[in-house]
């Protein structure tokens, strides 16, 4: 760790300072290129190239980029040719070890009409280690990309940063599951530049003990008829802390754009601290933006129904907590990772 702090996860429009939601401030660090495993299907090309911060904006922000720049790392550059589809996912697994900060910069180029999937699994039990992953994805016209991330590393800090830039009719799906990590800082910024492009994300988390999860998701609607959907659900236990920042930003000219975000949080213990700030910024009249949040207890109607089926309060809450994780977990296209998740949840 370094002595200086960096500012990350800033929201595009600030609010009252005393809420401490505008940004996160964390200690900077020196990292090394991670010893990560990459399984790359034949349709993809993988090569190393030097990291360049200016190519695409991401959610954690420029001070996070600076750490990659100053580390002089090569990034993993993945590309898939136009009209090509890969049914097998790219699989990146990394286990933190040796008290080091493992850094993984990835740049993905999805050419016109191409499609693919990538799974990232972060594991390990070295509490003095850390991980910093940045994935930048360029989606050309009518391309399609799905990114699945599972954070299950019992380490000090985990940084998981995603950015996309999307051309017309491209589609990006992001599924994320956060299970372990003393401090997880994560986010995604998607620039929907082309008309008809879309961003669809589903996030589930279970934060317990004294762990902290700090999130920042930003969708910039530039193109006409662009779509965004953010569904976030999670469970907080013990003394866990979670901050969700979600921004839908309709830029002028984004006619007929639609953006939705929804967060459901179950709070299971009195020591938890739950913060939510869902923003809609709008400079275009011809749009629809919705956000909603439900926080705290389950509804009385649901409780009544479940109890009439013979369940007690604790069983109901545990079942609903499992359901939130399972909603993301069951769609992960890798049986090995689903098994690892089951093991992590039992531990």
């Amino acid at each position: 760790m370094k002595d200086n702090n960096i500012t990350i996860n800033q929201i595009p429009a600030r609010t009252y300072r005393w809420l401490s939601m505008n940004m996160a401030s964390v200690k900077s660090f020196d990292g090394v290129l991670a010893d990560a495993s990459f399984d790359v299907p034949i349709q993809w090309s993988l090569k190393d190239r030097s990291y360049s911060a200016g190519l695409m904006a991401t959610a954690l922000g420029s001070e996070f980029d600076d750490i990659f720049t100053s580390s002089n790392l090569n990034e993993k550059y993945l590309s898939i040719s136009k009209q090509t589809s890969s049914s097998q996912p790219i699989k990146l697994t990394c286990y933190a070890a040796d008290s080091k900060y493992a850094m993984i910069p990835v740049y993905v180029d999805v050419e016109k009409n191409a499609s693919g999937t990538m799974i990232i699994f972060l594991g390990g039990n070295d509490s003095s280690a850390g991980m910093a992953v940045q994935v930048r994805i360029n989606l050309e016209e009518a391309s399609d990309f799905r990114l699945v991330c599972v954070a299950g590393a019992s380490v000090d800090n985990v940084f998981l940063d995603v950015g996309t830039r999307q051309q017309a009719n491209s589609s990006f799906k992001l599924e994320q599951l956060f299970l372990k990590g003393s401090h997880i800082y994560t986010g995604c910024r998607s620039d929907l530049i082309g008309d008809g492009s879309s961003f669809d994300t589903k996030i589930a988390y279970e934060v317990s003990g004294d762990d902290r999860l700090d999130m920042n998701y930003i969708v910039n609607h530039f193109g006409k008829r662009t779509l965004s959907d953010m569904i976030v659900s999670g469970v907080l236990r013990d003394n866990a802390y979670k901050l969700f920042r979600g921004t839908i930003d309709f830029k002028r000219g984004a006619k007929d754009a639609i953006g939705n975000e929804q967060e459901d949080v179950l709070l299971l213990d009195d020591g938890v601290e739950n913060k939510t700030i869902p923003l809609i910024l709008c400079q275009e009249e011809d749009v629809e933006g919705n956000h909603g949040a439900t926080i705290g207890r389950l509804s009385e109607e649901l409780m009544f129904y479940m109890m009439s089926r013979g369940m007690n309060t604790e069983e109901i809450y545990e079942m609903m907590a499992d359901a939130r994780i399972d909603s993301v977990c069951r769609n992960i296209p890798d049986a090995g990772i689903i098994e690892e998740i089951a093991g992590l949840r039992k531990s």
């Binding site: 009252y16 009249e285 011809d286 749009v287 949040a293």
Partner: protein, 474 residues
């Protein structure tokens, strides 16, 4: 099919401010120098004949003002230069009156044109009228006063038997350390009202204070302190307006409301400052066990507004309701919303807001709901809806929630967008023209506040949003 961009837009006329935009020359009035110095603060204190503790309080507030940073998160207020603001202007009358006939003619004419004496006769239990920095008229009906209700100006009350009660409450809810403009208020406050409603007394008809800022380049810093004791009820209405000048005016008032056990206070505001006004007002209520505060707020004026009435739910079962409409037109950046702190068990809050922006206006809904770990069994529901009437305006929603107990039920929803084609279609199928259908939808959108106001004020508000529809969006 026509391209949407080429179609004629539904037109919503801007708020008609002509009834507010008249002025009288300042004559024989007294004003301190522009800017803010210790000497000016001492001068104001001298003018006010402050007790020593208040003089010390002002000077301490000035120190806090000088060392507190400007906010860095809201609309740009760099056009507000405190060196150009006159913090105290006393109109050409040396005392407050209890009879309109004794008020100087130009000031009386001002309030006549605003309809205040008529409103007092027809629908109010008491009226306070402030002109620039001083209250010029204050009166309360005998039958209300005979119930023990105190409604008077704050400054003279400081020299009466109410002095200790005022000292106990003054700027305790909004301390000068709260933010830079609270500190400014603490240093230069002038005018405003003190209301005390004794236990069990229900004031059936409302009291009203009206604030008029006539002097160009001046600030108005009135302080409203209301204490509603156990089981009592009060509806208090606040109105404000100013003529438009080409220099910045500043309003940095402060409202502190203390709602006792089982008491209810409804606080209604129709704000229509001129478009050169920086409205940096602070309002806060503390609600005790089984008490309730109801905020009704219509924000139509100002160049820049920062306005977030806050409810501190301090007693078990305390409740807060906040209903507001904001209309931001050309040259306006209105940053409004509310803050709620749930700090006791089984407290509840309900927030329902509407905002409309047009002609380049910027409307921001900003809120915070904080539920502490003491507030078990608490509930909160926040609903905000925004309507954009053209594509040169801007509308943002920035709601924040900080929940620290598992035993809470918090819901939030926000919607932003256009007039629904489905609803227009439905109304047209019932025989309305498209223009009328759209006018009805926009009027109904803002009606959440109107229906909460006494009839006379609802009519005034509806006159403010005078809608004139032509053409169609289709």
């Amino acid at each position: 099919m026509k391209e949407k961009e080429t179609e004629e837009k539904t037109y919503v006329e801007d708020i008609d401010r002509s009834i507010y935009d008249f002025r009288y020359d300042e004559k024989d009035s007294y004003r301190v120098d522009e800017g803010l110095t210790e000497e000016i603060v001492r001068q104001i204190s001298e003018e006010k004949n402050d007790p020593q503790w208040m003089r010390d309080f002002r000077l301490e507030s000035l120190k806090i003002f000088n060392k507190t940073e400007m906010v860095d998160w809201g609309p740009d207020i760099s056009g507000l230069d405190m060196d150009n603001i006159v913090t105290y202007v006393r109109p050409n009358t040396d005392r407050m009156h209890a009879n309109w006939d004794e008020v100087p003619t130009d000031i009386k004419d001002t309030f006549e044109r605003l309809g205040i004496p008529q409103a007092e006769r027809e629908s109010l239990a008491g009226v306070g009228a402030q002109y620039d920095s001083e209250l010029v008229y204050h009166n309360v009906k005998d039958e209300v006063a005979s119930q023990g209700v105190i409604y008077t100006d704050l400054e003279s009350a400081l020299h009466t038997e109410h002095a200790d009660r005022i000292r106990e409450h003054f700027m305790k809810l909004v301390p000068p350390t709260d933010h830079k403009f609270a500190a400014l208020h603490g240093a230069v406050w002038s005018g405003g009202s003190f209301v005390y409603v004794p236990s069990g007394v229900s004031v059936e008809i409302p009291l009203q204070s009206y604030f008029r800022l006539n002097a160009p380049g001046a600030g108005q810093f009135e302080h409203t302190l209301i204490i509603v004791d156990e089981g009592a009820y009060l509806h208090f209405i606040e109105g404000c307006s100013a003529p438009k000048y080409n220099v910045a005016n500043l309003h940095a008032g402060c409202v502190e409301l203390f709602v006792g056990e089982g008491a209810t206070l409804r606080y209604s505001t129709i704000e229509n400052w001129s478009k050169n006004m920086y409205n940096l007002n602070t309002k806060r209520a503390r609600v005790e066990k089984n008490g309730k505060v109801e905020w009704i707020s219509g924000s139509f004026g100002s160049h820049i507004s920062y306005l977030y009435p806050m409810s501190v739910l301090a007693g078990e079962n305390a409740r807060a309701e906040f209903t507001s409409v904001t209309f931001a037109g050309e040259g306006q950046n209105l940053d409004t919303g509310t803050k709620v702190l749930h700090n006791a068990p089984n407290t509840s809050s309900y927030v329902n807001t509407r905002s409309i922006s047009k002609s380049g206006g910027i409307s921001t809904f900003r809120s915070s709901v904080v539920v502490s770990n003491k507030a078990k069994g608490s509930k909160s529901s926040v609903s905000c809806q925004s309507l954009m009437l053209d594509d040169i305006s801007r509308s943002d929603t920035i709601p924040a929630m900080d929940i620290r107990t598992s035993d809470a039920d918090i819901g939030h929803e926000a919607r932003i967008g256009r007039i629904s084609d489905d609803v227009v279609f439905y109304l047209m199928s019932r025989g309305m023209s498209e223009e009328d259908a759209r006018a009805l939808i926009v009027t109904g959108f803002a009606d959440t506040v109107g229906k909460e106001l006494p009839l006379e004020y609802a009519v005034e508000m509806n006159n403010l949003i005078r809608l004139e529809m032509k053409g169609s969006i289709g």
